[in-house]
Symmetry: D2
């Protein structure tokens, strides 16, 4: 490990709205004792990357200085810190992008309870001001890098991050064997949730969207029914599958107030509706009395925790196949074109990935 | 049990808005095999009784024909059905007013899961079209009548019903030992929740209201802090008690959209906010993105289940004292005056009760 | 429904140890208002049926007078009681054999909590003194009869009962997506648990037994690894799959003290071991300090609750295929031969069924 | 912080069986960035300290070189590391003695799930080979030091450690409001559990022991009933309080096989029995079939996690008063005499403490 390392590297840096440049930046130095240096292989393009590119911000998170994008990533370990117990150069890893900094009492509070995604000081790839992973190398804590077995490719490994939302939703809802699940929104998050819901044993998964191509993909990867219509149709579909009761679990992945209420309406009394999508405004007009008289619980989720080992197991065991969701591949140099492509093909492009390595 | 029983009895019957009459009605006949005949002793006046009296309806529940009001009740068993295993004439009981009819598949579904309050066909005293308990006698399933020990009075026993909301909220939140709890609304439901939260081990309970007299009562029965101000003040109070994090559990008992958001704002990341109060409209504008980025869960409750044995234990063991909340007593004949009194003294009258027996 | 019904029927009646006779017995009369009359189609032979046949008792349950055996059953509704809301003649149903009688306060206590399998007065087919289902007709509460969709056969429907143990184990453990599960014992119960564990999303299921034929069947229906060796080998297998930690969930279906400790030893710190098998004596020498220093929880299960709707969904959706476990078919007349066969072919006969209808 | 610090200090060091010496040892150096240097004030004597003193080992933990004893401790911060966000010199703190080292993948696995007490590489005061706290100074991670409010004394603060077992047991059981709890064993751990069970809302707590003085103390601090007799008497007491069902929660703090079975026998069907006491042998003969037919769950606990903030809240709010359990005080010099005293007065000495500061 005493040999020279590269001082600079290529990275896709967001300089402003619609201004994404692939340029030379400083490479990370030697890894800290608990870190590994990873040569990035694959990075998926997430809706949040695109949102920063289009708007320069997501809610209170504002890009105020040039920032490397990308957080759905995998790569190969090239150097390990002195205190890393289990990884070694050559290991292929999926990278969990959020790492609590543990610099405040609140951060320790949540870390110790196993809810580290709630740590207020969490580091997260490509969330301002933290740089992301569209680049050649990152140094990352070894315990947030998960070794991939031989039968899982690095490209699949990069998909564990978006799949994690679905794994987490299924765990906290929880989805139990034989459940009927409705999902509103068949974009990448909705589809990943569909895969995870099926893996968790859902017998029926009804998914709704306004775009037929997405529903077609949903059927291809396991949706038992798709709904292109409005809330009433979704509710009717859920009831028909459940002896008139409604869905056991709802997953809201569309991020529109009307979708939230549609998801609530399709859920049975006593059900849990997982909220993932954030509506454009800060608020939404919710059918609150309907929630109360039927005890429909709202369970918002923010990212995830403890999902990567599960993700590795699901891919390795073949219980989840993410490959059909990878729509298009680009090189690191082509990252700006990749963003253009994603925006121009929202209906058909589920997941575009950048092959860095 | 073969002797004659009274054919008629006195009851307080709602004939229309502001038209409550104490009059002679048919008394119930012989109890069914699984029922007991109870001579009513005490019935509390609930906000919902008052609401029917003032508006003739609550949401979709409409009083379409004359209906006996009252559902917070206790009494003495005077006759037992042939299949009743454990009660006998002379037993003093608290009466759980909601009994699933089990006439539909959905009702069986919820009953078997222990969520019988969600049975769509549940019978409930004084919810149209079911008659209530401001009367001399009711026949009721024995397993929904809970024997009071000698050290619990019938008047206290009638308070188990409103206390049940608090017991249920504390159980499902859940409130755990040492928690900091905020309650919005210090009316009867908020105060009962305060008692139940303290009994469940809450170390701090902050309660907010706009009426000083209610906050004074709250302090008297165990609130560790009261807030008369707005959402910002409630949030500040919760944070001060929790090293800056916010409350572990929120209980919304005010039924106003602003109170719901105030309760959410005072809760810490990862907390649960129990929704009890139903806002006047069907909907409320919720700070949904704040819910999501902090994973604040909304747990609506509709009535309760499995709370009466707990209520009996809490009163018998002295862990909860409901007596300070009984503000005023009336006879059955005075029931209409009691309703007038409650409305005229909302600030100071927590719970008015009718002594029937 | 006013036409005559048959007064007698054929049934397989246990008169004493090894004395099972197919004979004419009284048929049930008209169904009660909440009941349906079911013409039995298929009944599986359970280990407990065989145990009564071989020993005349199971623990404190003693066959003291002639008793019809059989409780894994399905059939066709031929008449419905007056208060049955959703079933009609011709419906094909799986029958849940345990129905709480609700004759005692304790029975109501558990029923209301959704733990009706713990009701002390539960009726259960072929548990003395309750008659079972190796016969032409039974009258049964409609809410314990579950309609089968067209794509599920009556033979498959009869398998929901033994599958229920697995569904229940997976729910209470709980097994979550991606888990590694060990099962000790690959008899019918162990194999049904294997199917249910896979349906619940287990990534790896390691199952152990001493009989190679059973392990072969286990591999055929989804075991990812089988172990014929001792506790050390099982532990090593579990650790290899879990980065050295051990299994997330253990399911003990062998009913031997050594298997219980083997299951505990293969489980990781913090895991839950579900106990199903009852060892021959009343007690077992447990490695209690190993339980404590690693916080391995023991979760015994007795039968199941709320599993039949799940079972129907699992079969209808194709998530579980029970057909490979049906080893042999007999007619009602051949029931005694069927018992002889089961005992003579324990290694290879997973589930023998009697085609009654 | 640049001034000189003391190079040596006094400590009570165990050199061998019955060989505890108060002597000069090296003092800790400057605290690491995340640590605070704490001047120890009070250290309670735990049964495990006494066990090491009497036997030189507890199970597989063997004292192989001189070791400072003591882990129930509090003190005053005298220096803070550079990265400590919230503590400052002069702060009075309770010290959580177990800190995961996070040196292995398994340790990260449990830490991230909030079960850090299961980390295999956890540092723990006075568990070989880690030194304890009968000494003047320790350096300790700041996030495992909990600031005491003004109304909680350092002596009380030292009691949070033994109280933690009770807080943890109540949380994981869980004990819910109104529960009936049985505790076997009224030694220090049983009594701390009694306090915690009451704080968690238990309506009835029945505690058993063979020593009358301990039961007298139990009644003084909140036991609603005490039992000096055998298992049958404990079971009868639990049933009488619960309408014949048995206790909702059992806590086994005696560490004898017969007490484990007594605790199981006194628990109702569906109850949880928390196992704390470790029997002298590695195993215990458990009534396993009784566990199964009544679904009594065994929930072993090893130390605790996330209990110190709760402990601080319970003492600060006055919900728990640990002062009656402090039986006797000694100086650091007198530590060997303190151990002699504890052993000679097991019946009456609940908790002896060493005033170091």
């Amino acid at each position: 490990m005493s040999e020279e390392i590269q001082k600079t590297m290529q990275a896709a840096v967001l300089h402003g709205v619609h201004d994404l440049r692939v340029e030379e930046v400083a490479a990370p130095g030697r890894p800290q004792p608990n870190e590994v240096r990873v040569q990035i292989n694959t990075v998926g393009i997430c809706g949040s990357d695109v949102h920063y590119w289009e708007h320069g911000r997501i809610g209170d998170f504002i890009v105020e200085s040039p920032m490397v994008l990308g957080h759905e990533c995998s790569g190969t370990v090239v150097e390990v810190g002195s205190a890393v117990p289990d990884l070694k150069p050559g290991d292929r890893v999926a990278i969990e992008p959020g790492v609590p900094r543990l610099s405040t009492p609140a951060s320790h509070f949540y870390m110790k309870r196993g809810e580290y995604n709630l740590c207020p000081d969490i580091f997260f790839f490509a969330t301002p001001p933290d740089h992301g992973a569209f680049c050649d190398y990152v140094n990352h804590p070894a315990d947030f890098c998960f070794k991939l077995p031989d039968n899982v490719s690095l490209e699949e490994g990069a998909m564990i991050e978006p799949l994690s939302t679905g794994i987490y939703a299924a765990r906290v809802a929880p989805i139990v064997t034989g459940d009927t699940v409705v999902i509103t929104g068949a974009g990448p998050i909705g589809l990943m949730n569909l895969l995870a819901a099926r893996a968790a044993g859902a017998a029926n998964v009804v998914i709704s969207d306004t775009v037929e191509e997405r529903l077609q993909m949903a059927r291809q990867i396991g949706a038992t029914q798709t709904v292109r219509g409005d809330a009433a149709e979704l509710k009717a579909a859920a009831r028909e599958l459940t002896n008139g009761r409604g869905a056991d679990v709802g997953i809201e992945a569309a991020g529109h107030p009307s979708a939230i209420n549609a998801c609530i309406g399709a859920a049975r009394a006593g059900a849990t509706v997982v909220l993932i999508g954030m509506p454009p405004g800060d608020t939404a007009e919710i059918n609150i009395n309907d929630l109360i008289v039927r005890e429909v619980k709202l369970r918002p989720i923010f990212r995830y925790n403890n999902t990567f080992p599960t993700g590795v197991n699901l891919l390795a065991s073949g219980r989840v196949d993410v490959k059909p969701l990878i729509s298009k591949r680009f090189s690191l140099k082509e990252t700006p074109e990749a963003f253009e492509y994603v925006v121009a093909n929202r209906a058909t492009c589920v997941k575009a990935v950048v092959d860095v390595g």
